[in-house]
Symmetry: C2
Subunit: 213 residues, 2 copies
Amino acid sequence: MGITERREREKQEVRQRILDAARELFVKDGYEAVTMRKVADAIEYSPTALYLHFKDKEALIRELCHEDFLSLARAFQRIAREPDPLERLRKIGHAYVDFGLTHPNHYRLMFMTERGVQTTDEEQKEMGKGNPTQDAYAFLRATVVEALLKEKLRPEFTDPDLISQALWAGVHGVVSLHVAMRHDSWMDWKPVRKVAALVTDTMVDGLARKKDR
Amino acid sequence: MGITERREREKQEVRQRILDAARELFVKDGYEAVTMRKVADAIEYSPTALYLHFKDKEALIRELCHEDFLSLARAFQRIAREPDPLERLRKIGHAYVDFGLTHPNHYRLMFMTERGVQTTDEEQKEMGKGNPTQDAYAFLRATVVEALLKEKLRPEFTDPDLISQALWAGVHGVVSLHVAMRHDSWMDWKPVRKVAALVTDTMVDGLARKKDR
DNA sequence: TTCGTGAACTTAACGGCGTTAAGTATGGGA
DNA sequence: TCCCATACTTAACGCCGTTAAGTTCACGAA
């Protein structure tokens, strides 16, 4: 008899309604705006009901972000076809910036706030760490490694992690500066994508073996 | 009679004690750890007493940061002697990273959180906007302008704001990534200063007119 | 010398937050 | 029919920033 299945399904529906309500608040106004009480209000439950579905607020929002992590991984995956590693690095930068600008609140949570997440080695393995199809950093690193092997980079650069982290830092700088300070009237900001393109191109060019330039 | 002066001095002393107590909490554990009640406790006053000296928590912490903003400006000022604009750019990057690593909590507040600060044009003028000795961005921009004038940069780069913001984004990326994710066990981080040096050098080299390379 | 005043401070409270403990209704299984 | 697990609610705790109202008291004027 499918009674327990129906129960389970109903529970998942409530869970999804919580997620939807939370998403709406989060996307619009960020982490602080997502209040257990407000989410509960939105779905006409008592605040404590949320704790039957999520351990705490952090777990709720973490789940919210999971979906968008996947979308970043998917965007990177679309780039895998690009044969030239240098060109692929440029496209990675572009996709990364796109992601950050499309999901600024997720971006802030993912990369701009201290997360004391201690995951064990097994958990990381399980979550796809090191697998370029699931781990965005691994994808970037693999591309750098390929560029090194194909001798596309200047010979003094040899450490793939150092190079990957430098490239990441570059685009991350553009996105995070934008996310945090776009409303700061002190600065006269140039269009983000222009700055991003300049950073990416300059860094890739700076790393690349000279050709005809 | 110096009575009102004494009163004023005493008031300033209390104000300073508040700032000191708040600083201790802030430097150690950041914005959220600074609680009006905890600060009040530390100086053995009631929480509401703080509001006689500061409009609100934000004003208190803003004042805390002011001092460190000055120290950044001072660090940049020491670089002004460097005659070669390209070398100066490198040194700016280094000083900036140093600042961020020395004051991570201040850094987070200054550059990694959305601050809906709306300042008028006059206020900005008064606070030294555009003056390279007080406005760090202006100092960076002036250096870029000098590099452009001395034809140190490749001819396709012409917009000083675009270039300045790209350079800033680069080092900011390194610092902010470090500040936010240094405890994330997912990543195997290379030493920050190494990454920073690579980003700075690569960008400056990438922007610079080719010479013998 | 007394009195009024204003500044510095406290107490009490408000409305918010995340979260927990304890209680309640209900519907399926024995 | 009764039991009990499950899904929920109510009430509360201890935080938070902040405000309103009250208290204390040294000073300056009368």
